[in-house]
């Protein structure tokens, strides 16, 4: 256990030194400012004409979802980019030789690194998520429905992609891991949209394609479940958006995503333990 904690500590420190993390945080801050200005303008515009408080709340809740979706995208991309070379890079550079010859099992090295990145990802999502929610609340009074569930699902989505980059990193070079991980996230993104489109076009084949994509990589379905949890039913009924309640991933889908994460992490540990370094 000493090995896990020591590796988690050094990984967290290393991750915190990555320029991409601070760039992502800076980007998050800029987006938050843009979001705050947009919300303020919307509030002023609503105040200039008669409007039912109920409808106003629904629209503002929808805008909040735009902000949270931006947080989600930024968090997933940041997770992938900061973690793609933690294993692949250290294996190819030989840095791993000085670590893997210490009295620490390889599963402890990998688990420690995963734990370190988990803390970083949770902190990043927490900061950007809380910032977005706070801006929306203090500007419009809108607050997400099931905020903690939404937060947990977004963190789970990032963790899933983290496990994927770890697993890929035990096989491939840094560049290949990056291409594959971003490609898989792209597939998940497209799958989510295909399921939304299916609600619009009623095409069974498109549904099948969307579901198949979510089975291959279920990260985007976690966002759609998070959106469902956090928005009001009326805002969710806007049928052509990344937040629409057209095709809501079930609890079983969330369970599948969690199992997918665990299996992917187990595969990463198994292959890292078995391979030559």
């Amino acid at each position: 256990m000493n090995g896990v904690l020591t590796m988690a500590g050094i990984t967290l420190r290393e991750a915190a030194r990555r320029r991409i993390l601070w760039t992502a945080l800076a980007a998050g801050t800029v987006l938050l400012i843009v979001f705050a200005v947009a919300l303020k303008l919307q509030v002023m515009e609503f105040a200039s004409r008669p409007m039912s408080p109920f409808l106003r709340y629904q629209v503002e809740n929808g805008m909040l979802m735009v902000g949270l979706y931006t947080c989600d995208l930024l968090a997933v991309v940041m997770t992938i980019l900061t973690s793609i070379d933690t294993l692949a890079g250290e294996i190819s550079s030989g840095t791993i030789h000085a670590i893997a010859t210490k009295p620490v099992a390889r599963w402890e090295i990998l688990t420690g690194k995963f734990l370190g990145f988990t803390c970083m990802v949770a902190a990043f999502v927490g900061i950007t998520f809380a910032g977005t929610v706070a801006v929306a609340y203090f500007t419009t009074g809108v607050f997400p429905e099931h905020v903690l569930r939404g937060f947990a699902l977004i963190v789970l989505e990032c963790e899933l992609m983290l496990a994927m980059t770890f697993a890929l990193g035990t096989w491939f070079s840094t560049l290949t891991v990056g291409v594959l991980a971003l490609g898989l996230q792209g597939l998940a993104f497209m799958g989510g949209w295909l399921e939304q489109v299916s609600g619009f076009s009623q095409s069974v084949h498109i549904v099948t394609l969307g579901v198949a994509s979510s089975v291959i990589i279920p990260s985007e379905s976690l966002w759609r479940r998070a959106a469902f949890e956090m928005q009001t039913p009326l805002a969710g009924s806007l049928s052509f958006s990344p937040f629409a309640n057209v095709s809501i991933p079930s609890g079983a889908a969330v369970g599948y995503a969690f199992a997918y994460l665990c299996v992917t992490l187990a595969v990463a540990i198994w292959h890292f333990r078995e391979r030559d370094l």
Binding site: T6, T101, P103
Partner: protein, 308 residues
Amino acid sequence: MIATSELAIETESLRKVFGSQVAVRDLSLRVPRGEIFGFLGPNGAGKSTSIKMLLGLVRPTSGKALVLGQPANDVETRRAIGFLPEDFRFYDWLTAEELLRFHGHMCGMSGSRLHERVPAVLDLVGMTPHAGRRVRGFSKGMLQRIGLAQALVHEPDLIFLDEPTSGLDPMGRRMVRDILRGERDRGATVFLNSHLLSEIEVTCDRVVFIKEGSVVATRDLHAQGDGDVRVSVEAHGVTEAMVAGLAQWASDVIRAEGTLSFTVRAHDALPKIVRYLAAAGAEMYRVTPERTSLEDLFVELVGEDRGL
């Protein structure tokens, strides 16, 4: 025959195959505890792969490897092992002191022991003035020094060093030599892989030569008189009769103006020859046994450069 309990490393028919390429063919080694052991061979002989197998970084395809009496991949045994990789690299944002603390923590050292050992080992490798500097700004030689320090910080019983003097200036090489002798005197075993045969010659107690993944020879560098020794003598007044009399101890005797050279089977024949020549009336100014250098032996055993 050395008992197994006195061996730091023991391998039997160790073999590693990568795809269709045989990296290590059949490595059988016995490394006694408390020695500085040189591991020699040409590029591509399988030295690095062998070390990686002994450290559990690479799985053998077949064969047996025991390190400190335990299987080579035993995690707990690594508490007693230190390793300096050939091209030591680590998180370059750490300071030298932080790097050593991290490696000490990984080896399970307590805070109080680290407090005592880190400054001591920094001093040992001459890095005390750079303790607070980040590794990023280190030269190749400084990286080797801090890499050596991380291999020694937990006072291991067995130390693997892969080209430890690479990138070091003559003072640095001398420092490494002194450190290795100090470690041996402490009771540690040092397994040294180096291309600098002159360094090996003055540092190691024993060497093994490997070629194409198999041991081709082992030499005890402290042994005297094993094998033929060519001797040259600077002397005047050597007669044909004296040359004939040398046949009882020596062969291939060559007499020239002021010099005499011959081959003796055993080193201890030399005092007898000197006494014989002096008694016969020869005036001797110098007697020099010409030992075969490790470099000559290397070329003889391993063959010419294959350009690898």
